[in-house]
């Protein structure tokens, strides 16, 4: 795991193209980076086999789908040791509006991404589901205004 798989500048160019548009054919990816279709296909397969190209995700406009509110929560557990982390993780993962849960080190123990229809819907999820979780301590909510994904170090 340490060091990772070696990739060259052409692989990086392929990753940049596929990251932005994973629906492109090997031929189209090849044209974008100056490779033949078979050469691009072989490299893409190698990147997939190495686990570097892990999969795809749909980029959806949440607003247009009726999910107008995304909130990031920082959660500090109150009684560590008494309530197991496993119990908390199981319970929080079962909430459908909680779309991402990360265990973190620092001021908070967990970071949650919550998607709701509107602020009233978010308040319902917060009060009825999240604040009722076992071991819940401090919560901080920040309402997301904008989000950008960047290509990263390619």
């Amino acid at each position: 795991m340490n060091g990772g798989t070696e990739i060259d500048a052409t692989d990086r160019a392929i990753l940049r193209v596929v990251q932005a548009n994973a629906a492109l054919s090997a031929g189209a990816v090849g044209r974008a980076v100056g490779l033949s279709q078979p050469a691009a296909w072989r490299r893409m397969r190698r990147l997939r086999d190495a686990g570097i190209l892990r999969g795809r995700e749909l980029s959806l406009d949440l607003d247009k789908l009726g999910f107008g509110v995304t909130v990031f929560l920082g959660i500090k557990l109150a009684a560590k040791g008494r309530v197991g982390l496993d119990d908390f993780e199981r319970a929080v993962s079962a909430i459908p509006e909680v779309r991402q849960v990360e265990h973190v080190l620092g001021r908070y123990d967990y970071r949650l991404r919550v998607t709701a229809r509107d602020l009233a819907d978010f308040e319902r999820v917060l009060r009825r589901r999240i604040m009722a979780l076992p071991g819940m301590g401090e919560i901080e909510s920040n309402v997301m205004l904008s989000e950008e994904r960047l290509p990263g170090p390619l």
């Binding site: 795991m1 340490n2 060091g3 990772g4 990739i7 990753l15 596929v18 990251q19 932005a20 548009n21 994973a22 629906a23 686990g51 570097i52 190209l53 892990r54 999969g55 795809r56 995700e57 749909l58 980029s59 959806l60 406009d61 949440l62 247009k64 789908l65 990031f72 920082g74 993780e89 929080v92 993962s93 459908p96 909680v98 779309r99 991402q100 849960v101 990360e102 265990h103 973190v104 080190l105 620092g106 001021r107 908070y108 967990y110 970071r111 998607t115 901080e140 909510s141 920040n142 309402v143 997301m144 205004l145 904008s146 989000e147 950008e148 960047l150 290509p151 990263g152 170090p153 390619l154």
Partner: protein, 151 residues
Amino acid sequence: MLDDLDRRLLRHWQAAPEMAAAELGALLELPAARVARRIEKLREAGIVRGVRGVIDWVALGYSVEVSLRFQLEKSVPGAFDAFLAAARDVPEVTQIQTFLGRVDVRLVAIARDLAHWQTLYRDRILALPHISEIEALMHVATVKTDQNLPI
């Protein structure tokens, strides 16, 4: 705006984004051409922005991921824009979110190891303009990641 078919299509597609129109058509028991036209309409309406390729940074040797939370000097005119523009220029930054709340901006940054993180943090992150407060949460594990919306 969305009808029942759009919703069924999106539910299946978001669960398996590698599927093409033909495979989605088989699931929905519809001709592939009809599904392809629907997908095109969803793209034109801006509901589907695209299909992103997901890169596993750990497999590329980036084992450290940090969530950086900033409060900015909001009294300075243009502080947000200057900060965001500078943050976009740091290659190791993979996500930027802005917020209403105690936190103004969050960045996700990745590094090869803790030594690389230390250099990145000192030379690039702390050099970003108009930082009033900064807090770091180090990623330990992803417990849940669910791209599927209850559409």
